[in-house]
Amino acid sequence: MTSTSTTGALLAFEEALAKFDPAMGLEVHVELSTASKMFCGCSTEFGHEPNTQVCPTCLGLPGSMPAVNARAVESAVRIGLALNCRIAEWCRFARKNYFYPDMPKNFQTSQYDEPICFDGWTDVEVDAGDGPETFRVEIERAHMEEDTGKSLHVGTSGRIHGADYSLVDYNRAGIPLIEIVTRPITGAREKAPLVARAYVAHLRELILALGVSDARMEQGSMRCDVNLSLAPAGSGGLGTRTETKNVNSLRSVERAARYEISRQAAVLEAGGTVLQETRHWQEDTGATRSGREKSDAEDYRYFPEPDLVPVAPDPAWVEKLRAGLPEPPRERRARLQQEWGFSDLEMRDTVGAGALALVEQTIAAGAAPQAARKWWLSELARRSNEQGIDLTELPITPGHVARIQALVDEGAINDKLARQVFDGVLAGEGDPDAVVAARGLAVVCDEGALSGAVDRAIEANPDVAQKIRDGKVAAAGALIGAVMKEMRGQADAGRVRELILERLS
């Protein structure tokens, strides 16, 4: 019999909290969306054929040398400023030495004791149903480093153990990463998992507002490691921590924190000790699995990278970046909600769907706030869900959506036709006007054609006509449907209704 560590005992969450205080540290890696890599000119674009976006430097070929991407430094400083960090006047890169096949040089160029950003904080809001509460999360540091390549283990196991062979794609090697590390978050008690989730969500929003990363957790451009430890309730101490990796969604952040609280509590309750180790979050089982043991014995032999000169951001430049920071997400949300007259629920849904900027741009392009919200959160959200992509990835612009709404407002098309226009635009048939013209979707305004169709509908449905004459106006729907069918949907339903009622009153 073998047993795996994922099937260990759990203590009920409430019971765990009664006995222990959780402390969390969150490490978030953000892949910057700079055009080129951290230390070379290779493209960072996602989804290309393996090993096509590589050069001697990011492959770590003998003799190659790094050169710092100034854009990445700028992004790092802006992230730091948005997190109320201090910006180093002078800092260096360092080598983190360890062997791994997907790491071309067998050291990662990172930062060690001289991070570019340090000593910051950010406020996050959680609502456990008892009203919103603000938690201040202290930021220890945010530093620059390079990503590794990506190993693909081919075989039935899908993991390194039991793989038939492994392939490595170095397209990702050298992509700029910013690692943002919090100080231990204590005192959140039962809200700790919610705080973890809210922090990551807040960070993501902030990163998106800065425009420095697409921050897609499912694609790995934003990755979270959850460090968690328990100490006896009220002791004020810190216990042995585990580091849970592979937490790739906001929901998983919350679940992983919750799981580790229950798991560690069970270990401690049984008189055991928590092992300091790396664990992996498993989405399917909703549990963490023990990974390689990570003890303090792991020695990365950090030393300053001798191939790079120190980074010394000019204070005047930093102040310029500070002045150019976008409005903080919370303030921005409050302002937009006020301007648009959205309810709290409407606002939360809009933010939750990642549609805030899209709605804002659609309104800026001329659409009414409610119309903009309606299209993005219903019609387009449905389509993006079906395809499993983000709203921003749909091949349609806020300008297109505003134009479609304008066509509806002008009466040129109706809502039903509008959906066909969306189909056309998303299928790449051109802008809304082009789709309307090509598909012949304009509402028929020819009163003669419409009158004829109305007459024929009344003639074909004498019973319904009689009901309407008798005052049952609601029955008009059946006649409208018949007319719309004859007109193949290209009629203004309101006008049809008027014509029917005129004739039968």
């Binding site: 190659s64 062997f99 030393f303 191939d307």
Partner: protein, 508 residues
């Protein structure tokens, strides 16, 4: 009677090409023939690229015929130390672990040679990953000193120095981490220059110790070194540590120095670089040279640099630390040697890495990886690597103080002449002492030159005279070096290398 082009300096060859007296193909062929004749016993080359060199020579001649030579050295052939990446030409760094690796790119230095039109004859031998002072640590056999084939040619760049000393190439590129250009220059009677750190791009130079490495000229005359330095030097955006400033007019400095007039130039003799362990004949030649400089008008004074006595210890912490990290990439995953562990049916990546590194690295490389790994380990970092960096700062400060008193510092380049092959190969500490005089310049990033200054009385073997100057004042080492060269030539009536024995098998 045809001219023996291999006996000419690079400057003379450039003039002959400009005057239409010869072609690059003729010159290149002459050197390839010389290599075929003498490189058997000398073994300066690890790889001779005859086809590539002749094709580049052909292109050079066509360029010149069309009226536009690419540089003053267009068409003059050159040899390149095997530590610089050459596109399409094998690059081994003298190590088994890189056997068969053909770089897909050129080092910036190599790219500049190609742009300037210098045909590349081949790649020269070296101690494995430039770790050594004799080339005995090459995985591909030792290079022999053309002055005495039973002796070492210096190292790590013994191949480049021997190629130039044996007239197999008029020019070569070397690299100098602790003396690997200057010490081979001293023991082979050739000129070697370590430029200011950051003066020549390191992009494509397979790093030994990144904060110490510097590529530079290996030649037979100071003027040739200046000509080559001006071709390979200057800022390179691919090397962040390269200096974004003009390298100065070095050829002009040579011309100034060749007049033999050093009136008003203050020359500092480093007090700490004499005494026990220094060969009397080397010290005697050094004193002769000082006398010549004094006669030429220089003011020679003693200057103490007390921290230099710690330079060797400092160097042997910083170098292994950086090297241990640099050499981690040789793991059999992407290029070079791959060795499967014996008796393992289905080896893991880690097992292949271990077996390959065990088989691919030689003993000196392993020694330094172990030293460096230890020096960087948590708990030891402050005591070793951290402390070494502090001493390094003190050494730089000693240089700064000295250069407030004098314009250049001088010393013998190496404490002894060439020693017999095999004498020190099993005694690493004795081997390390060869670089005693050259290491401080690398730690401080300042430029240095070694100029041949005679034969030691005991063994009739060449010694070298080292000139050091402040960072970015490379022109000073050229001026003083050229002056000494001119003064010595006046005494000798010709170049020192004319006194080297003819090599067996060579048609003279």
């Amino acid at each position: 009677m045809s001219t023996d082009w291999t006996r000419k300096t690079a400057a003379e060859l450039a003039d002959a090409l400009a005057a239409g007296e010869t072609s690059s193909v003729e010159l290149t062929r002459a050197h390839l023939d010389r290599i075929a004749q003498v490189d058997g016993p000398v073994h300066a080359f690890l790889h001779v690229d005859a086809d590539g060199a002749l094709a580049q020579a052909q292109a050079s001649d066509e360029r010149r015929a069309a009226g536009g030579p690419a540089s003053s050295l267009d068409g003059v052939p050159i040899a390149v130390k095997d530590v610089l990446a050459t596109k399409g030409v094998p690059t081994t760094c003298g190590s088994r672990i890189l056997e068969g690796w053909v770089p897909p790119y050129d080092a910036t230095v190599v790219a500049r040679l190609r742009e300037a039109g210098l045909p590349i004859l081949g790649k020269t031998n070296m101690d494995e990953f430039a770790m050594g002072s004799s080339t005995e640590h090459s995985a591909y056999g030792t290079t022999h000193n053309p002055w005495d084939l039973d002796r070492i040619p210096g190292g790590s760049g013994g191949g480049s120095a021997a190629a130039v000393a044996a007239f197999e190439a008029p020019l070569a590129v070397g690299t100098d981490t602790g003396g690997s250009i200057r010490q081979p220059g001293a023991v082979t009677g050739t000129v070697g220059v370590k430029p200011t750190y950051g003066g020549v791009s390191r992009y494509g130079l397979v790093a030994l110790a990144n904060s110490l490495d510097q590529a530079g000229p290996v030649t037979r005359t100071v003027l040739d070194a200046a000509l080559l330095h001006e071709v390979i030097g200057g800022h390179d955006p691919l090397d962040s540590t390269s200096i974004d400033q003009p390298i100065g007019n070095l050829v002009e400095a040579v011309k100034q120095g060749s007049s033999g007039d050093l009136s008003g130039v203050r020359v500092g003799v480093i007090t700490e670089m004499s005494g026990e362990g220094w060969q009397p004949g080397v010290l005697a030649r050094f004193q002769d040279s000082l006398d010549l400089l004094t006669k030429a008008g220089a003011e020679v004074v003693e200057v103490s640099c007390p921290t230099f006595v710690h330079a060797l210890a400092t160097y042997y912490l910083i170098l292994p630390a950086e090297a241990s990290s640099n050499l981690a990439r040789f793991d059999a995953m992407r290029y070079g040697l791959r060795v499967l562990p014996e008796g393992v049916a289905d080896p893991s990546a880690e097992e292949v890495m271990r077996a390959t590194r065990d088989a691919g690295f030689g003993p000196e490389v392993k020694r330094r990886i172990i030293l460096g790994t230890y020096a960087l380990s948590s708990g030891y970092y402050d005591a070793y690597y951290g402390q070494a960096q502090k001493v390094r700062t003190l050494i730089s400060r000693d240089f700064a103080n000295a250069f407030e008193q004098v314009e250049v510092l001088v010393s013998p380049t190496a404490p002894t002449t060439a020693f017999p092959i095999g004498e020190k190969v099993d005694d690493p500490l004795a081997m390390y002492l060869n670089d005693l005089a050259t290491i401080p310049a690398n730690l401080a990033g300042v430029p240095g030159i070694s100029v041949p200054n005679g034969l030691a009385d005991e063994d009739e073997l060449p010694s070298g005279f080292q000139v050091l100057a402040p960072a970015l004042a490379d022109d000073r080492v050229y001026r003083v070096g050229a002056a000494l060269e001119a003064l010595l030539a006046g005494e000798w009536g010709g170049p020192l290398l004319d006194r080297a024995p003819a090599l067996e098998g060579a048609a003279r």
